[in-house]
């Protein structure tokens, strides 16, 4: 589904590369986790996949369903089924979550050649999901993310994930700053959406979230490259022994 080959990327107008030849491959229905120390390029990778304009891709290839997506705008990538749950979701004054999600879902349905949901059907779906994700219903009547606590923002990301049903969901440190209850909600959301044609890429610093979501594949990202790939047990190893050995090895390269 997602194929990343020798990806090099840097911040716009900066010389130093953050991603230095990253390659990985995610098949349909798979759950992958990317773990790594601070500054390894985890968030950069997640954002580059959606085409955040702050970053520039210097070389490499990224295909989604065999289509080269690097020339596509973020919205075009989203319409093809990609989704990023943000580490720091933007606050947008005056835009209500309801209105925003209706527009997003309408765009997606239009792209898929489907009619937009009626306001009634949409509202029902929305209310159900709001309840499932455990967001205070008063909160979603306010401005998007404005005045939301860290946990509320993350739940709101999960609400969008559940509403939009992407085929590849990238979670950028969704677990950071969450208490155990919120963590469980995120995990339940992901687990309930797992299906043979939907894949996940979970970016995380800690192994904690992986107690609730069992990945098929774990990658260790250090200094802009994947330095090790393994099964779920790799996360446990890292949890116990830390990233030190990988960092030392990377420095020695």
């Amino acid at each position: 589904m997602l194929q990343v080959t020798d990806l090099h990327a840097s911040v716009v107008d900066a010389d130093e590369e953050i991603l230095k030849g990253l390659s990985l491959s995610i098949g349909a229905g798979e759950v992958h986790a990317i773990m790594g120390p601070n500054g390894s390029g985890k968030s950069t990778f997640a954002n580059v996949l959606l085409g955040r304009p702050d970053y520039v891709v210097n070389s490499g290839v990224v295909t989604f369903d065999d289509e080269d997506i690097l020339e596509l705008f973020p919205d075009q990538r989203a319409l093809r089924g990609m989704f990023l749950a943000f580490q720091y979701p933007a606050e947008i004054p005056g835009v209500r979550p309801w209105q925003f999600l209706k527009a997003a879902l309408d765009a997606r349905r239009e792209y898929a050649g489907e009619k937009p949901l009626s306001v009634r059907d949409f509202s029902k779906l929305f209310d159900d999901k709001v309840e499932a994700v455990g967001i205070d219903p008063d909160l979603v009547k306010r401005s998007l993310n404005e005045g939301f606590s860290g946990g509320e923002k993350k739940r709101n990301e999960m609400l969008q994930l559940e509403m939009l049903e992407p085929r590849l969901a990238i979670l950028d440190e969704t677990d950071s700053g969450l208490d155990v209850d919120a963590l469980r909600i995120v995990a339940e959301g992901v687990n309930s959406l797992r299906s043979p044609d939907r894949s996940f890429l979970i970016v995380t610093h800690y192994q904690r979230l992986l107690n609730y979501i069992k990945p098929d594949v774990v990658h260790i990202l250090v200094d802009g490259r994947i330095v090790e790939t393994g099964g779920p047990e790799l996360a446990i190893t890292v949890e116990n022994s830390g990233y030190e050995q990988y960092i030392t090895a990377a420095m020695a390269d």
């Binding site: 973020p74 004054p93 765009a107």
Partner: protein, 488 residues
């Protein structure tokens, strides 16, 4: 209670009952360009006005001549425009050759039609807006009179200004110039001398107007000045919501618009005045467009009365307008909610004046300015607390949003407090549509243009939500259309 609904513009303009005031009468009238005492007399005579009104006009005219000679146009606003030649303007319904006008929509500028399409304006209305030559000549006035009978039963008067002069001279005599005197300022004085027509509304004591009253203005022939005059009086305990819509056909040359609006509320009365101003803003290169010099002022004459101005200003090459409230009655309230947009070469210098005279008077100002392209947007507002205004309260909020890096936003508040019990708050902010916000929306599949639109209308929501529902929808669309080309 009757639930308020509005006279929708579509109904008004396509309905058979729609009237065009005095306009059709003047179809054959020709008056030369330029301003003189004779022209003022001619305007008054054509409208069969009483002597006292002619005298009022003439006083204004002579005052204006003096003003023009001694000081000229006011120069304190942050706007630049070429000298206006007041002798190169038609002051009386300009002759319009139907041979020059487009014969059908097929002859109309496709860009203009595309705009109408986006605004969702019905086909029949589009023809009128495009100035397609049909049997009527459209001029400055269009008062919806569809609901006149229903209103008459309640004692509500809603008619063109000319009709009001004929049928309700006492009211006109009593209130005309009582809020904006003929000598008020250069443009208001000019208007007082040559005003063409406009609207008049009177809500009798204790009556809550069950529908929203609407006047729709459009400009007509090239080189014509537009000088309409609106007067609304809410008697004791009365309420009315009044809507004003404006549009003008695309013209290569600039057109002058100098209107005057006067509002009066007596004890316990309320007037809510909403405007969507979409005069032609000029081309992308800054060619043509309407020079909008408007004086709008209300007076809360009675105790516990309220005047609320809401405006969405997307049009005009130049906007110079400061809808104000004089808070004379004790416990009276003044409000000003504004979104002003300046794109391409548009210049907007707009704001309000809140003059607190009565005790416990309260005013709220929420002014939002959007600047895009090379647009220049200035908020200019005055809050004045007179010595008599015990316990006056004002809250002012000015927000500026910048789209692109060639536009400008300016905030010029004037605060004058002459009573120590006053409480004033002033908040101001300037922001840009952030890349983070755009990326967030786009990462959900929302296009760049739609994302901009969503962020900008969201930012303006505090003001737009003050508009009646249909107007709010139109305002959102207008912001979108007006910003096209400014994003991306």
């Amino acid at each position: 209670m009757v639930t308020p609904n509005s006279i929708s513009r579509e109904t008004d303009l396509s309905g058979g009952e729609y009237k065009w005031g005095f306009v059709t009468e003047v179809e054959q009238d020709f008056a030369p360009k330029g301003l003189s005492e004779d022209i003022v007399r001619l305007i008054s005579a054509k409208k069969d006005e009483p002597e006292w009104l002619l005298e009022w006009r003439l006083r204004a005219y002579h005052h204006w001549v003096k003003m023009a000679k001694e000081q000229g146009e006011p120069e304190w606003a942050k706007i630049r425009y070429p000298q206006i030649d007041y002798n190169d303007i038609y002051y009386y319904a300009a002759p319009k050759s139907s041979a020059e006008a487009p014969k059908s929509l097929a002859d109309v500028d496709p860009e203009m039609l595309a705009t109408f399409e986006k605004l969702g304006i019905p086909l029949q209305e589009r023809e009128k807006l495009a100035g397609v030559a049909i049997d009527a000549v459209f001029d400055s006035v269009s008062v919806a009179t569809t609901y006149t009978e229903q209103l008459e039963k309640l004692g509500i008067i809603f008619c063109s200004f000319s009709e009001a002069v004929k049928n309700h001279p006492d009211l006109i005599k009593k209130y005309l110039g009582s809020v904006v005197p003929y000598s008020d300022n250069f443009f208001a004085t000019l208007n007082s001398a040559v005003f063409s027509d406009g609207s008049f509304a009177y809500i009798p004591p204790g009556v809550r107007c069950p529908i929203e009253l609407m006047t729709y203005f459009r400009m007509n022939a090239e080189g014509t000045g537009q000088f309409e005059r609106t007067l609304i009086v809410a008697d004791k305990g009365a309420y009315v919501s009044y809507l004003e819509g404006c549009t003008a056909p695309f013209r290569k040359t600039s057109q002058l618009h100098a209107a005057v609006v006067e509002l009066v509320t007596l004890d316990d009365a309320e007037i809510k005045y909403s405007t969507i101003q979409n005069w032609f803003p000029g081309s992308k290169e800054g060619e043509g467009g309407v020079y909008n010099f408007v004086t709008k002022r209300g007076i809360c004459r009675g105790v516990n009365s309220k005047i609320s101005w809401t405006q969405v200003e997307t049009g005009s090459a130049i906007t110079w307008k400061y809808p104000s409230v004089i808070l004379q009655g004790d416990n009276s309230t003044g409000e000003f909610y504004s979104v002003a947009l300046a794109n391409n070469h548009q210049q907007a210098d707009t704001g309000t004046k809140m003059i607190h005279i009565g005790k416990n008077t309260k005013s709220t100002i929420v002014a939002k300015g959007i600047s895009a392209g090379q647009g220049q947007n200035t908020y200019r507002g005055q809050v004045k607390i007179m010595p008599s205004a015990e316990n006056a309260v004002n809250h002012t909020q000015c927000d500026s949003l910048l789209v692109g890096d060639q536009c400008g936003a300016h905030t010029v508040p004037y605060i004058e407090v002459r009573n120590p019990t006053a409480r004033l708050e002033h908040e101001a902010s300037t922001s840009k549509v952030s890349d983070d916000q755009l990326f967030y929306l786009r990462s959900r599949g929302i296009s760049e243009e739609e994302a901009h639109h969503m962020i900008i209308t969201g930012w303006s929501r505090e003001v737009i939500k003050e508009l009646p529902f249909e107007f709010a929808m139109e305002a959102g669309q207008l912001l979108k259309v007006s910003l096209e080309g400014a994003v991306g």
